[in-house]
């Protein structure tokens, strides 16, 4: 009797949880559609091509920054080398086009090769604890970009190369990829879908096991989970997101160079993620937007942008561990608490 009732209670609880989760997914779906639709009037209302282009670049950098922020949030691992995957993806798109092959093939390669590479590298480097992982991602990023720099025959060396997009992509006029208005809408939609996908991953069973490994790897292993392969897979997922950013950037610029792989770009993506905040998935996007527009506003001190960004990084790391998005949420929750007159968590 008691056993049965306990079982019933369990199922009831589980059903309630499933229902709550479905409701959350539904509301997220609504946010998803609103977020995608909302950018359309913005894209058409902003008249300045310069601002539109800046926004598009910020969105694409936001994808790369999200790949870094996601890894910190999900796995607790700080990568200094995700531009290596971003740049590899860029070359995967550009090289087939240069050789006269099709664009969809290039995009497919770009979405498969870098994550596969990341998975294999991940199997080795995720075993190494904490800081050493970060040091190695930096070394890997640097080695891959050196490799691209030296393979002049393939990559065009330091100068890189530009290429022409085909006239149509899956029946659409390909020029939409290079007009700021349409590309802003397109890359924003991709970014929103990426965020949605990552949030689904975080809430999936697999994602929660990865989070458990982040909290205590030894205990997770003790319970019986394979921790190395799961952390490597999460690293590969992060590389996959970085690759999406690389594909978007390459399509928009129709140009690649080894600079897309350089550690300074990886570092910038990490800075965006930290400034934006890593407790929330969309924090990195806020960081990317902040970095792009702050640089534009900086004007005269723009010459010393690197030092300025270094100072901002230090200030945020020490004084604002939740980043801008964390601060935004704090203000929002304080506001709603005032409004409702009771203590919201």
């Amino acid at each position: 009797m008691t056993d049965l009732s306990v079982g019933d209670l369990g199922t009831g609880k589980r059903e309630r949880q499933a229902l709550a989760r479905r409701r959350e997914t539904l509301s997220q779906g609504a946010i998803l559609i609103i977020a995608i639709v909302a950018v359309i009037p913005v894209a058409y209302l902003v008249r300045s091509n310069l601002v539109l282009s800046l926004m598009t670049q910020a969105v694409i950098a936001g994808v790369l920054a999200t790949s870094v922020g996601f890894l910190i949030r999900q796995s607790g691992a700080v990568t200094f080398g995700n531009a290596a995957f971003y740049g590899t993806a860029a070359y995967c798109v550009a090289l087939p086009l240069k050789a006269g092959l099709s664009l969809p093939l290039g995009i497919a390669l770009a979405l498969v090769i870098p994550p596969a590479l990341a998975y294999l590298l991940g199997l080795v480097i995720v075993r190494i604890p904490g800081i050493a992982f970060s040091m190695l991602t930096l070394a890997i990023g640097q080695a891959l970009s050196e490799l691209a720099l030296k393979a002049r025959w393939l990559t065009g060396g330091e100068d890189g190369f530009s290429f022409a997009l085909p006239k149509t992509v899956v029946g659409l006029d390909a020029s939409f990829l290079q007009r700021p208005t349409s590309m802003l809408i397109f890359s924003w939609s991709v970014l929103v879908l990426v965020l949605f996908g990552l949030s689904l991953f975080s809430r999936s069973r697999y994602g929660r096991v990865v989070a458990a490994i982040r909290e205590n790897e030894e205990r997770a292993r003790f319970i019986g989970y394979q921790t190395v392969s799961r952390r490597a897979a999460t690293f590969a997922l992060s590389a996959f997101v970085a690759s999406i950013g690389g594909v978007l950037a390459t399509l928009y610029n129709s140009f690649v160079s080894p600079e897309t792989m350089h550690w300074s770009l990886s570092g910038m993506a990490l800075i965006m993620a930290i400034i934006g905040g890593t407790q929330l998935l969309w924090g990195a996007v806020v960081g990317a937007a902040f970095v792009f527009f702050a640089k534009d506003w900086a004007g005269d001190i723009g010459e010393h942008w690197q030092a300025v960004i270094g100072v901002i990084l230090i200030v945020v790391t020490v004084g604002l561990p939740g980043g801008i998005s964390g601060a935004m949420m704090q203000i929002a929750s304080r506001g709603s608490r005032l409004f409702k007159g009771r203590g919201a968590p």
């Binding site: 480097i125 800081i131 030296k150 030092a307 960004i309 990084l313």
Partner: protein
């Protein structure tokens, strides 16, 4: 061939001096100083400027002293206050510092490459098995050996050295035994950064000076530190000699793959021993 091995030894010696500074800092503070490469670069420029007025050796001494003071300040201002905030916080702050220092060097000395001449009596060549070889590279090896011996004697024979060794094995236990690790680390972090300054000055005649010269050395020395087993002095020594050789042979025989070979070697070793050559089984 012998000449090539000696070349590799010179680069390995240089890497050792940089990497052992990282290991010293890690031992006391359990953090990795991402600004170490920028301090190396700064040391090179300080040596360069002073050598104009007072010669190479004065440049070396001033750079060591200046970088040592800077390191102690770094410990007082950054590592100390942030010691309870998780190692990643310090990594990010030192990364920010690296960006600032690089910009600073660029503002003062410009982006262009600058050349530093070795001191006159070390600038010739010497014949080794029929090949002529720059004397200066032998001097680099000698200086790295002096650093290595000096550190070994300091750590084995002195009381402070004992504290440093103890702290690199178990910092909490050492503090509990009554060692003031905060005061000790001001000294040790200063020592670590002064070694990066020393490395910068002696590397300057081999590499050309530029604000970004530190990043390559930093990355190679990271490989050394991880390969040797993070926090291990003997591991760093072994790994530096190994990476110096591998790097140099790679540059000669397969230049297009030279950047990847040290990394590939390291991956193989880490698959075999995840905690590095001299690391304890984690």
């Amino acid at each position: 061939m012998i000449v090539q091995l000696i070349n590799g030894l010179a680069y390995g010696g240089l890497l050792y001096v940089v990497a052992v500074g990282l290991v010293l800092i890690f031992g006391l503070r359990q953090v990795v100083n991402f600004a170490h490469g920028s301090l190396f670069m700064l040391g090179a420029y300080v040596g360069y400027v002073i050598s104009f007025y007072a010669g190479f050796w004065a440049g070396l001494v001033v750079a060591i002293a200046a970088l040592g003071i800077l390191g102690s300040l770094l410990d007082i201002a950054v590592f100390g206050p942030l010691r309870h905030r998780g190692p990643m916080t310090t990594v990010l702050v030192t990364f920010g510092l690296a960006l600032i220092l690089e910009d600073f060097a660029q503002a003062i000395w410009g982006k262009g490459l600058r050349l530093q001449q070795p001191p006159p009596f070390l600038s010739g060549t010497v014949a080794i098995f029929g090949d002529s070889f720059p004397v200066y590279r032998l001097a680099v090896i000698a200086m790295a050996a002096i650093v290595c011996l000096g550190l070994a004697i300091w750590m084995r024979k002195t009381r402070v050295g004992l504290f440093v060794r103890a702290s690199s094995v178990d910092p909490e236990g050492t503090a509990m035994q009554g060692v003031n690790t905060d005061r000790l680390s001001i000294l040790v972090v200063g020592l670590g950064t002064s070694l990066s300054g020393l490395a910068g000055v002696i590397a300057a005649p081999l590499l050309s000076l530029s604000p970004s010269m530190g990043s390559y050395v930093l990355i190679d020395s990271f490989i050394v530190v991880v390969l040797g087993g993070i926090g291990s002095f003997s591991g760093a020594f072994l790994a530096a000699i190994l990476i110096g050789q591998i790097h140099n042979l790679g540059v000669i025989f397969v230049p297009s793959l030279a950047a990847v070979i040290p990394l590939a070697l390291m991956s193989l070793v880490l698959m075999w021993r995840p905690s590095g050559l001299a690391g304890t089984a984690a």
